[in-house]
Symmetry: D2
Subunit: 345 residues, 4 copies
């Protein structure tokens, strides 16, 4: 029987415990070491998982030859240094979203991983939910027809970040989902936003993404909303989707609704548009935890030497949009063009 893949996890704050729990529980992997600079968090690891080694110095992880792969769940500003060191130490890497602070950093990591033939995967968790996978399937199979728009609202109260604005914290989820479910890439972005904490990063933001054809996308993110909303509308020529991630079971609803456009040369302005309303349908969704699906995929890619669905290139594309959106936001909506085809380093 194949031996377990040995995992090191850096960071045991908000997300790290989920990574540790999943890699500890699923067959085929084993968590060998956890690092964090807070000893009280390491004490928790020890009490829950006495067989896992702990350290405040993540270099112990890089120098341990038994560790095959490293999962990085630290603040975004540290992603590049940690991921680079891990790759240079020959470890496969799963890095938290967003991948890096700049697209240059992302490209450096991609190159490093390619050169060393290591798996580099970005933790775009929503891509591994059954709701998002179902939406991709529906769109790929042309159930919705051509896509008119993608509109997402992701707001709640807290948690204000200190090092990144709300786009990097919340819109990154929507960009990762769009990257997966839509078949094309935006060519430009216009963003607006505001900071309500003096000197702090923007805590409310609105992004409009333009695509070739008449596809438009919009993302609304807010750390200062009285209610939690996680709702996406997707409109197509044939059908439309409401995806509400807070619904306990029917997260994805498909509406057989739309317009019919009559090409009537005699009456251009009269009766041009017809409205169509049909059934609504909510497919049953598998309830497996997304992070488990993702961890299994990471292990699978390591074993088979394949590229993950959310590889470095995908991480880079998302970072490019985040960069451009932040730039547009500084100029109050000024359009910033994107070039998502990667330039060779």
């Amino acid at each position: 029987m194949e031996s377990n893949i040995k995992i090191g996890v850096i960071g045991y704050g908000y997300w790290g415990p989920n990574l540790v729990r999943n890699f500890a529980e699923i067959p085929g992997s084993q968590v060998r070491m956890v690092s964090d600079f807070k000893p009280e968090l390491l004490a928790k690891v020890q009490s829950r998982y006495p067989s896992i080694q702990v350290t405040t110095d993540c270099r112990d992880m890089f120098s341990d030859p038994k560790i095959d792969a490293v999962a990085i769940a630290t603040p975004v500003s540290t992603h590049f240094d940690l991921a680079l060191a891990a790759l240079q130490a020959g470890k496969h890497v799963l890095v938290e979203k967003p991948m890096t602070v700049t697209s240059d950093q992302a490209m450096r990591l991609i190159d490093e991983a390619e050169r060393r033939n290591l798996v580099l995967m970005v933790d775009h968790t929503f891509v591994y939910t059954s709701a998002v996978r179902k939406m991709r399937e529906l769109i790929a199979n042309k159930v919705l027809g051509d896509i008119y728009y993608y509109d997402s609202v992701r707001v709640n109260l807290g948690l204000f970040q200190h090092d990144v604005n709300v786009i990097w914290d919340l819109a990154v989820h929507d960009l990762a989902i769009m990257n997966y479910v839509l078949s094309s890439q935006p060519y430009a972005v216009s963003a607006t936003g505001m900071s309500h904490v003096s000197g702090g990063p923007e805590n409310i933001a609105y992004l409009t993404l333009f695509f070739e054809g008449n596809l438009i996308a919009h993302i609304h993110v807010n750390w200062l909303a009285p209610v939690k909303v996680r709702r996406t509308l997707i409109g197509g020529t044939q059908k439309m989707i409401v995806y509400d991630d807070l619904e306990p079971s029917e997260k994805v609803k498909i509406y057989d609704k739309g317009i019919t456009i009559k090409d009537n040369s005699e009456s251009v302005y009269q009766m041009l548009i017809g409205y169509r309303a049909g059934d609504m349908w909510a497919p049953h969704l598998d309830m497996t935890e997304a992070i488990r699906v993702e961890a299994l995929h990471f292990l699978d890619c390591i074993r088979k030497g394949e590229r993950p669905i959310t590889d470095g290139e995908v991480g880079l594309q998302v970072v490019r949009i985040l960069e451009a959106a932040s730039q547009s936001m500084k100029r109050q909506g000024r359009l910033v063009e994107l070039d998502l085809a990667r330039v060779a380093a």
Copy 2:
């Protein structure tokens, strides 16, 4: 006893019947004439209100000396000509929103009404709902503290307009509400949008409005959404509001939630933000139909010679923003500055 104010109503399509019904039922007014160019609609008037005169020529209304005031419920492109003719015939005017197609037209009407000492009122119906009046009261009384943001979503399937884009049709409601509940005016707008009907006006649009200080507003309107949403979030330093116009009774919910910002010079980045969560409260709202409140206000202004809450100036301010937003949308979000202090004609 004072005699009834005699009303003429132009247009008996979607909104006209509501105006006729209200002016017919409330004490103090009487509908004397209805005009529409469709005889089948006039037949409906006659069968329901046999005492009301009908005509396909609205000039009959202007020339009737017994008519005191005219309500105009026709497509926006006709507002200016009809309102001007009515004012020139000495009639008080209640005109459907948006007031006119251009701000120049709006200014002409304001001047005409002032010169003749006539009431000119714009039918910003939402301003006369108890929900919106309650929000104005809460904001004016500083219950919310300083306002951080105003965010509205107004989407549904249909009805596509042929002569105006979705901003002029739907965002006009939000602009009218904001004009009433907020104490300041935006200085610039950035808008994006898209048309999904070849050659047609934009059917989906996003507006960001910038105000002095750190107040930001956003409006999302869409004629092509699978579900109907009418939801506004208002964030303040002290409290936040969720206003959902589709709720049957608790339309306005006030959340005692927010952030507390600690000015800790020693730890700028650590523990700067605290979160506060308290009670939620939904005030009981009077259920009187808004259009009835509005009609009573119009009659009252005529009798007392006073300016209506939604007078020509307010109508003009809204039209200015609509113009600027449409201009910004054509340039994919380019900021357009607003000068809402009126230039003397």
Copy 3:
């Protein structure tokens, strides 16, 4: 061309105006007379419908040979006398629900109508909604499999009735719907309830209906609830329904959920039950007003000499259950048997 059927409407309180409006608007009928003992209500009729005759004495209607049919929208205690007089005058009758105060009265009316070959229809409005018709179709086509239970909640604040308890006012709707959508009749009822107004009829009540096999039904009605609820659950061996009449569009949702029972003689208690969860589906429903569908059906039955879906026998079956439930409620849940096969008079 066939001439219009002439209708007289008795009672212009809550429901009468809807009957008048529909019979006035649909092709094939004409409202000739309206009676009510309140002159101020008749004045409303005259102002809206100047061609309709009005009277405070409904005997004028019975003696008018031009009137073909009478619709009765008065308090339940008057139904029997008015309907009997109308039938004896040779008029077809549409009578408000519940049909009569006693089953004896209901049988008298049925006999009178049969003898005179007149249409006798009970106004079980919900039966004519597209939601209820869709549920009947789904159940008749065995989409749900065998029915396990029917459970309805119908509560709100007001309107307290003075002459009947909440069962006769609200549960009557559920009994009418059940009569239409289920293929069998209950054999016994147990009911409990309470009056919270001294000397008044019960304002909260719970009915359990027993059917042959293992079908059970329950109805919860309440005039004193803080929120309005109109929700029915129907469980079947194959699928289950949630019918929420307050939903604006998706009123009927079909869940592909249920249990699978494994007949495993070796492990009677272990693993006997499996759970099945599949898609949810909400069929598009026609939005025609139920009362219009019903009025058309009444006219059609008159023309063709056919029995209505909600004929006197159906009205009688519902009254029998109401009688039995009230009797059981007096005895705090004591089972009362029903014999819904009609005894010859």
Copy 4:
């Protein structure tokens, strides 16, 4: 410093892990031993909590003099024997709900605990939620006025129990809550229900509870519902509550709604009832896990030698109602009287 109270937990199935986690984490207690007859569950305990002893024989727990208290989380049919043995071994006992299968057993345990001066507490978890505590406070402070009714719906798909019917599994929660929030006890119960699994216990049931005065309570429980509902309505003379346990934050809503009864001797039947609608208010609720609050209370009672809020007497009262309801259900709603004042053994 006082030493930790040492806990033994019997049963590591559905609820046991929550007990172990809480007693392990809160200060003042320590989990010393866990027993379960399934070795694979004990292996989980060992991997997560290496310092806890495990055994398949719970008698090891009774004979360990270091164990102060035992928490029993096993099927209800085993509660009596295990609790009795624990008490006889001198251990304090926290036993899962429902307390026992019969009220005789419950009385035996109460006597045993009293004689030995040991704490006997029943795990009525909902009583320790902030939502239920808030409701008790509101009712005790007469905010609702006199209580008219208590109405609860607790339905979902699964989990069918083999040894008890749905009343013992789900209605027990409502009975425990009612016992805590209402100030009086029911004097009789009428229950109906049905089994849809041949030979199995009833999986759907309806209970009506009668109290002195005009207070009535009703509980609807169902293992075979397409949707999960956890909603309670409480009506009072002054205010009404909607308690929805599935709401993420506003679980308790207080409506300033009701009726006003005018004692008008001249017009007994006319205009007797007025309707009042005011604000709605949702108090902020503490989010501490109920089981943690409960565990702290258990430890506190042990230390101080006090009676818990949910002591054996409360457990007995609930069991008496469960017995009576099951008896009534067998007779299709026949009223069964309750005598909740305890008869001396």
